[in-house]
Amino acid sequence: MPVRFEINGKPVEVDVEPRLTLADCLRHRLRLTGTHVGCEHGICGSCTVLVDGAAVRSCLILAVQAEGTSVVTVEGLSLEDGLTPLQASFRKHHALQCGFCTPGMITTAHALLTEEPDCDAERVREVLSGNLCRCTGYISIIEAVLDARAAYKNSGKRA
């Protein structure tokens, strides 16, 4: 069945099986492979995307449920050249190693900082506790997100 939504600012129509998850639709139909699938049961957070601005696990919703929404993936939070302040902060603080969980961390952190640019370390830890990382031990990720707050404060709700 056809499903229409907006992906990274552009309208798209995809013909999908009703059982196709949004994650698989993004990865295998739209070839946006920055969104990663780590568990398919909503625990690891690697597949987090923004649906109408909210951080959502794309393995837990069906593509058809995205009808009429605006979906943003890590690709949509990236510039053609260079890094956004949030991405640069991840790099500066060595907040990633294998890079598999990173897109989910970036999307989740972006949603948090957009809503709460003044959040403290405890709040960052609480929100990111739904995103598993096996490499870093999280300390550097928390530092990176806290360090990126300035960019979200200065530019209102955009970074």
Partner: protein, 769 residues
């Protein structure tokens, strides 16, 4: 080596990050090919039984199914997973068949493979397969295995796959006259590396040219190519193993698994590209497990705390088969139980027990995490018995700088000798104590503040690295004067590209941004590669790059000499130019009109030994068993540092993995051998909220004498002492109650139970008094 360098030792931000933070990494499941089929694998739902029948007829009728493959289709004899490390003849009988055909021996063992137009259709078809298995009792723990009533391999007469023994000096004699001995039993639980990226493969068969391409290969690509070549009857050079981004290995990803035969076989069978990606449930039941060990150990000391002997028997649950590196953990438990300490007389036996559970392999710090827990726990118990401060007890027994190289126990039957290469273990211990504020916090030891008991602990450790025999690197000066690096080391997320670019740029005396790219892992890049395991890439791959750089510089000087009409020895290479004695010069780009490519190698038979100390401050709530980690300091000396940023990342990341093993991670089985923890809702790993305060500190004296970089393998040290440190900290906190943890993990329920048991013991004692 150059005396002056500009990149080695600098916290250079990673080159890899530029793609990862933008979602431009390329992992194997990101790949797609035209006309591609998807594989799904039916796995045994039971732990132990005889396969009586498999009916695939209904599955074959599912629309979109291309083929259904059972063990009978895979050839006779059935290919088996071979041993990569310690490939002793005695292990051969326990090698895992790539698909079960007569018997199943663990939940998750492959039974049938379906190839279909989509992964969803392939999984639908699995549901249409009927398998009839005649159940056998499950050998699900050490006690059942030891009874030998039910055997995994009936013709072997027992469930012990093999026994090793670690020997140094004369343990029996040392115990005979010892003024103090103590015997204890400890255990560590089964857990696993749990890479965030599930395994996957995409295999393509080019029938016209008889070539196979395996994408998604990782860790040890050249070794795995040899296995596939042998099993499929192909020449090695007819197979390309291609490494894409790898979402973590920690020892487990990239070893040869049954699927590493099945998917290449399927591609050739179907004549179409075949892709397979495991789901998380498959991952938890099929990827190598680790760490399940128990140990009865006895120590002999003088009254002043000087250790004179260590002996005991460890039992390692290796699961249903001996996989590629399934013996490493057992070897390390026995050989490195003495750790960084001077133990002159050792006799440790270790039995490898077969059980109806997923086979084991290496997981970061294999055997070392376990054996350090046994040893450090024992040390604190002994120190208290003898009335010696636990820090002083360790200090007295640490191997001294002047004793290097220091020979450790030798393993029989394969005569694996080893020696510690260099280091001053007292210095890292002192630094660790200073950093955590041991002296100031000592007053809190065992104290109850606001209902929580405070505890402190410190442990010392060593980390082996740099396994031989060889690594290769190729450097290519491109026609634009830039440099491309190729290496046999493989990337598993650790930041190889950045570290190798630093090493290459320094060796070539050129800016890092003139290093185009570091290509690693894939079999096409160098003639012979060994990959990434045993913390070997920096030392082995990095030293191979140094060798290649020496050769490239010589080749460039030779080329320049012809152009400048002088001797090669008269040419100086600097600032992108080759200068002759008369001041004339040519640019590197002009030298490389035809790119200049050379291959270098580093051969090595010894190991590097990074070392250090970890300390922790905890508070424990006896009402709930909750342990809060208030502070954790990890100090490690890794010889010469290449990149402190990534090194610190390895250290802190490994500590948190270790905390998972110390507190939460456990693969549980029931008496039928069913895996009870088949999802991430059941198998818990640390989250961002669990352990907010971990401090890593890297020291840099004592470069390794065994390689030109002076580097020591790092990356595993952070996990090795964590179980021991945490258990000792909990014991210290609850010392007034007499709590002595002897088993991991220290889950809240276990700590709570220990408190209850201690109180009951106290009450009973009081009554008798």
């Amino acid at each position: 080596m150059r005396r002056v360098n500009s990149f080695i030792g600098q916290p250079v931000p990673r080159l890899e990050d530029l793609r990862f933070v933008r979602g431009r990494g390329q992992f194997v499941d990101d790949l797609a090919r035209p006309n591609m089929l998807h594989a799904a694998i039916l796995r045994s739902p039971v732990a132990h039984g005889h396969i009586r029948s498999i009916d695939i007829s209904a599955a074959l009728k599912v629309p979109g199914v291309h083929s259904v493959i059972t063990g009978a289709d895979l050839g006779n004899p059935m290919p088996r997973v071979p041993m990569r490390l310690q490939p002793m003849p005695g292990f051969e009988a326990f090698g895992q068949p790539v698909m079960a055909c007569e018997k199943v021996r663990y939940v998750g063992e492959a039974l049938v493979m379906v190839l279909a137009d989509s992964a969803a259709i392939a999984e639908d078809a699995l549901g249409a397969i009927e398998v009839n298995i005649e159940l056998l009792p499950a050998v699900w723990n050490r006690d059942v295995a030891a009874k030998n009533e039910t055997l995994l391999f009936e013709d072997k007469g027992g469930n012990i796959a093999m026994k090793f023994r670690a020997v140094l000096g004369d343990a029996a004699a040392s115990f005979k006259d010892a003024p103090y001995t103590r015997r204890e039993s400890f255990s560590t639980q089964r857990h696993t590396a749990l890479t965030m990226e599930p395994r996957g493969l995409l295999c393509e068969w080019d029938a016209q040219n008889g070539r196979l391409t395996v994408s998604g290969a990782a860790k040890v690509l050249f070794f795995n190519r040899r296995i596939i070549a042998r099993q499929l009857g192909l020449a090695e050079h007819a197979i390309d193993m291609v490494e894409y981004d790898v979402g973590g290995s920690f020892g487990a990803r990239g070893e040869f698994y049954p699927e590493d035969f099945l998917i290449p076989f399927a591609a050739r069978h179907a004549g179409r590209p075949v892709k397979w990606t495991e789901d998380r449930r498959e991952h938890l039941m099929t990827m190598n497990h680790a760490r399940e060990a128990s140990c009865d150990v006895e120590i002999a000391c003088r009254r002043d705390g000087t250790i004179v002997g260590l002996r005991g028997h460890a039992f390692v649950d290796v699961g249903a088969y001996m996989r590629t590196n399934g013996a490493v953990g057992a070897r390390n438990i026995a050989q490195f139980m003495s750790g960084p300490y001077r133990v002159p007389n050792i006799e440790i036996d270790v039995s490898l027990l077969l059980t109806n559970k997923t086979p084991v392999g290496t997981y970061r710090g294999p055997g070392r995490f376990e054996t350090d827990f046994f040893r450090e726990r024992l040390f604190d118990i002994v120190a208290r018995d003898l009335g010696i401060d636990p820090v002083e007890f360790r200090r007295r027994n640490l191997v001294r700088d002047s004793e290097m190289p220091y020979t450790v126990a030798t393993i029989a039957p394969f005569e694996s000798k080893d020696e510690l290469d260099s280091g001053d273990y007292q210095v890292t211990l002192d630094r660790c104590l200073a950093e955590i504020g041991w002296a100031e916090k000592a007053a809190l030891k065992g104290k109850c503040v606001g209902g929580r008991y405070h505890g402190l602990a410190v442990s010392c450790f060593i980390e082996g690295g740099a396994a031989g025999p060889k690594e290769s690197a190729r450097l290519k000066l491109e026609s634009d004067g830039t440099l491309t690096v190729y290496t046999g080391s493989s990337g598993v997320g650790q930041g190889l590209e950045t570290a190798f670019a630093q090493i290459a740029a320094d060796a070539m005396e050129m800016p890092m941004d003139r290093v185009n790219n570091v290509f690693h892992g894939s079999t096409a890049y160098v003639s012979d590669g060994y990959g990434s395991y045993h913390s070997r890439s920096i030392v082995m791959g990095g030293s191979a790059i140094l060798d290649a750089a020496t050769k490239l510089r010589a080749a460039m000087c030779g080329q320049a000499a012809r152009r400048l009409n002088c001797g090669a020895a008269e040419v100086a290479l600097a600032d992108g130019r080759a200068c002759g004695p008369d001041g004339k010069s040519v640019t590197w780009a002009e030298l490389a009109v035809e790119p200049i490519s050379v291959e270098g190698a580093f051969l090595n038979k010894k190991h590097t030994w990074a070392y250090g100390a970890h300390a922790a401050h905890v508070s424990v709530d006896p009402r709930t068993g909750h342990v809060q980690l208030l502070d954790y300091v990890a100090v490690e000396n890794c010889g010469r540092m290449i990149n402190p940023l990534t090194l610190n990342g390895q250290l802190v990341g490994a500590v948190v993995q270790g905390l998972g093993g110390a507190f939460m991670e456990q693969l549980c089985y029931d008496e039928q051998g069913q895996l009870l923890t088949g999802s991430l809702a059941d198998y818990l790993i640390p989250t961002a909220a669990d352990f907010p305060k971990i401090r890593g500190l890297v020291m840099e004296s004592h470069p390794s004498p065994i390689n030109p970089l002076g580097a020591k393998g790092a990356g595993e040290g952070g996990i090795i002492p964590v179980g021991g440190v945490m258990a000792n900290a909990v014991a210290d906190a609850l010392s007034s109650l007499g709590v002595e943890p002897r088993d991991l993990p220290l889950s809240p329920s276990r700590v709570w139970q220990l408190v209850q048991d201690a109180r009951r013991r106290r009450a009973a004692t009081t009554t008798i008094d």
